[in-house]
């Protein structure tokens, strides 16, 4: 128990074998694990989208069967939301947040490792369904009572529900961890209103996670009870109301939208000032807007349900709250523009992606604002117009923001610069491709083409624009290949980045790239909102590189991975039976108890 004051480098932290990655509790390594895993699933989700676009390239196409098409759009949505965008954001939370607040690690390093391993298990579990009797085919929102055993026999929906439960554990654990990390592990002098906006947005996102995920947990519990034990939570003949599912789902689902977008907004709020050489315009207003969005995100869920007929009062209420939430979003957009205004703008790739984010997200916001109005929504709902909207906010928004973050922090993570020429090629390729793909969807949607339908008849006026969308989707492939080549080659042969290649303002740029395992040699003192941009606070921040005395780092542990595996096996027992459930339970208990009683000093 007594501190065996380890040397400056805890030995295992510098190892690089596979085992060291399994047992790591270093937030930076876990961030890299999250990032690579999530990017892999981003590619899988993209591939699913590509097959759908190929199916829709011409009317009456027969590339895939209707049922497989259903599986594709269900898994595409689920994958992109839970296995790509959320964990990609989580990879930045992991790598960047402790650096930005001047901490050695997150508050609970082993819990952090646990989150990652649960996420990995859940992601693999969900995708196993493709090989074990068919993937879920009921849409990522899985409306009841389409999901009942009667209408969805087979195990697809079970895989979906159990998979999301497992992933929920990962998200919840990470949410708790980052709330405590941000509130409790800030360096001296970093008051709340000196936290970088990315830290603020992570905090708001974490609160949304811990409050929204229990709601979907309960909905999934009901669904699983209905399917596995024959209860009647969503069975209309027993007097149940299938709309209960929609309310529970969207009460989670709308905060989830902000869980997806707020981190990207945070990234953009870091990138724009750096490459405009100006502090963020109206920092407090940007922070308050983010918090306000977080609150308001709870009061708009029924705008996903205008078409079910909730009555004029509910419709008006949710229309108004939805329009209200556009205000803080608009405030942020104007603040970003004002940040660029009059700045010495450097069009590095990271900056281009942030600018692309503003443009694309604004377009997505505008189409979103259109279906805030119930009469307009009734025309647009379940058409490709909504598909266009969500892809402008999630692809044009969240993914663009995440790419901006990758280009911005890659030098910090690897110590090398990414190739700017390839980066710009990637940016323009992606920007053009995504507009070619999604812009025509506005029009086919308004023409009445329903979403989630595997084909369409000729002579409906849909042909040309669907062809265009498919061409756009194919154009995304080379753009992403350029990115992957850039990532690979820059990681090996990129120019050395130095501590601060961009002249950034925040603490992570004060320390070496890649950062040493202990991040800061001594605890930094934070003297301003932009510590590296003011003479005195800069000196104080740079002084943190000096090591005074021994640094204590948490030792590696494999119990988080064991517990994660055990918990996932336990939950998979709901489908696979006792042979998985019982060993899972044993492994969970062994894992958790060993974890709890493991000496951690």
């Amino acid at each position: 128990m007594a501190t065996a004051a380890a040397a400056v480098h805890a030995p295992a932290q510098t190892e690089s074998g596979l085992w060291s990655w399994v047992t790591t509790v270093d937030h930076k390594r876990i961030g890299v694990l999250y990032g690579t895993t999530a990017f892999l699933f981003f590619l899988i989700g993209g591939l699913e989208a590509l097959v759908m676009r190929l199916q829709l390239v011409r009317p009456d196409n027969t590339l895939v069967s209707p049922d497989f098409f259903n599986q594709l759009f269900t898994m595409h949505g689920t994958t992109m939301i839970f296995l790509a965008v959320m964990p990609l954001s989580a990879s930045f939370f992991n790598f960047i947040i402790p650096l930005m607040i001047g901490a050695r690690d997150v508050a609970f390093p082993r819990l952090n490792a646990f989150s990652y391993w649960v996420f990995l298990c859940g992601a693999v579990f969900l995708n196993l369904s493709f090989f074990l009797g068919g993937a879920p085919n009921v849409g990522w929102f899985a409306y009841s009572n389409l999901t009942s055993s009667q209408y969805s026999p087979g195990h697809g929906v079970d895989f979906w529900a159990v998979g999301l439960q497992i992933l929920g554990i990962a998200s919840l654990a990470a949410g708790f961890n980052f709330i405590v990390t941000i509130i409790n592990l800030r360096a001296p002098g970093m008051r709340l209103m000196r936290m970088p906006v990315f830290v603020w947005m992570t905090l708001v996102t974490s609160f949304l996670i811990i409050l929204a995920f229990p709601v979907i947990t309960v909905a999934l519990v009901f669904l699983l009870f209905d399917r596995l034990t024959g209860t009647n939570f969503f069975v209309p003949t027993a007097g149940a109301d299938p709309l209960l599912w929609q309310h529970l789902f969207w009460l989670f689902g709308h905060p989830e939208v902000y869980i997806l977008i707020l981190p990207a907004m945070g990234i953009v709020s870091e990138v724009l000032p750096t490459f405009s050489r100006k502090p963020l315009f109206g920092y407090p207003v940007v922070v308050y807007s983010g918090i306000f969005i977080g609150f308001m995100g709870w009061g708009v869920w029924s705008h996903h349900m205008f078409s079910v007929g909730l009555g004029p009062f509910a419709d008006s209420f949710f229309a108004l709250t939805t329009m209200l939430i556009a205000i803080p979003t608009g405030v942020k957009i104007f603040n970003w523009i004002a940040t660029i205004w009059g700045g010495r703008v450097e069009l590095k790739t990271a900056m281009l992606f942030s600018l692309g984010f503003i443009a694309m997200f604004t377009m997505g916001g505008l189409s979103g604002f259109m279906h805030a109005s119930p009469p307009a929504d009734l025309q647009q709902t379940d058409t490709y117009f909504v598909v266009a909207h969500i892809h402008y906010v999630l692809f044009g928004g969240a993914i663009m923001g995440i790419f901006s973050g990758i280009y911005y922090w890659f030098p910090k993570i690897t110590g090398r610069l990414m190739d700017e020429r390839l980066g710009k090629l990637h940016f323009w390729g992606m920007l053009i491709a995504l507009n070619v793909t999604f812009f025509p969807m506005h029009f086919v949607g308004l023409l009445g083409m329903p979403r989630r339908v595997y084909t369409y008849a000729p002579n409906m006026g849909f042909d040309g624009m669907n062809l265009l969308s498919t061409i756009g989707a194919l154009m995304l492939v080379p753009a992403l290949l350029v990115f992957m080549w850039n990532l690979w080659s820059s990681a090996r042969r990129g120019k050395p980045a130095g501590n601060d290649p961009w002249g950034g303002a925040t603490l992570e740029w004060a320390i070496p790239s890649p950062p040493p395992p202990y991040n800061f040699g001594s605890v930094p003192r934070v003297g301003s909102l932009d510590p590296l941009w003011h003479k005195e606070s800069r000196e104080a921040a740079l002084a943190s590189n000096q090591v005074h005395g021994p640094i204590h780092m948490p030792p590696p542990s494999y119990w988080p991975a064991v517990s994660a595996l055990g918990m996932s096996l336990l939950m998979s027992g709901m489908i696979f039976g006792w042979w998985f459930g019982i060993p899972g339970l044993v492994l969970t208990l062994v894992g958790l108890y060993s974890w709890a009683f493991e000496p951690c000093t």
């Binding site: 128990m1 501190t3 508050a107 609970f108 082993r110 919840l172 949410g175 708790f176 961890n177 709330i179 405590v180 509130i183 409790n184 592990l185 800030r186 001296p188 970093m190 811990i210 409050l211 929204a212 995920f213 229990p214 709601v215 947990t217 309960v218 909905a219 519990v221 009901f222 009870f225 034990t229 024959g230 209860t231 009647n232 939570f233 027993a238 007097g239 149940a240 109301d241 209960l244 529970l248 009460l251 958790l592 108890y593 974890w595 709890a596 009683f597 000496p599 951690c600 000093t601």
Partner: protein
């Protein structure tokens, strides 16, 4: 989840945090916030579905208020013994710690036993998980509460085992305090459930 986890770091982390609050305790409060949404959703579902059943058994036909009042009282008393356990460990009173931890766990087990009896009784009166809406909402809601109590009981016995092996000194009072937070929360949830389901029909 990890009852005694990170306990070793307890004293150290309390001094090093920005707010001065202990990180584990803060995590636990966040967890309880999350649990509020969990039970909130379960209870809301029960309330939304209340009175929609065309076939029985209905709540007033099966619920046995005197019996459940007693088990609710038992659970409430366990909160008292939990407070006493914490007070004992904070004073370094090892014997008191052992006694009150065991008492709390035993009271929790009594509550669970009561719930098992109650569930069995209801089952024979025709209230089934797969039956009407009252059945499924009631059993799932109170079942999840019972699961929480069970987890708490296991946690308490773990602490008790630590106390028996002299591994629960004064400096680790926080381990008991956090278990106590959980225990009191589960109690408070029961007050809500008891009021909304049993008393207000």
């Amino acid at each position: 989840m990890s009852s005694a986890s990170l306990a070793h770091a307890g004293a150290r982390e309390a001094h090093a945090t920005t707010t001065g609050l202990n990180s584990r305790k803060m995590l636990f409060w966040a967890f309880l916030g999350s649990e509020c949404m969990f039970f909130g959703s379960l209870i809301s579902t029960y309330l939304v579905y209340r009175g929609r059943d065309s076939s029985g058994p209905h709540p007033h036909e099966v619920l046995n208020i005197p019996f459940t009042s007693v088990s609710a009282f038992v659970l409430l008393m366990s909160s008292l013994t939990m407070v006493l356990a914490l007070a004992a460990v904070q004073r370094g009173n090892l014997r008191g710690t052992r006694i009150w931890l065991a008492a709390t766990a035993l009271l929790g087990m009594m509550f669970i036993a009561g719930q098992c009896y109650e569930f069995t009784e209801f089952f024979y009166e025709g209230l089934k998980l797969q039956g009407n809406l009252f059945g499924c909402t009631f059993f799932v809601l109170t079942g999840f509460h019972g699961t929480h109590v069970t987890v708490g009981v296991i946690w308490l016995w773990t602490l008790f085992a630590m106390a028996m092996r002299n591994r629960l000194p004064q400096e680790r009072a926080l381990d008991v305090e956090i278990a106590g937070l959980y225990w009191h929360f589960v109690d408070v949830v029961w007050i809500a459930i008891f009021t909304l389901i049993y008393l207000i029909q």
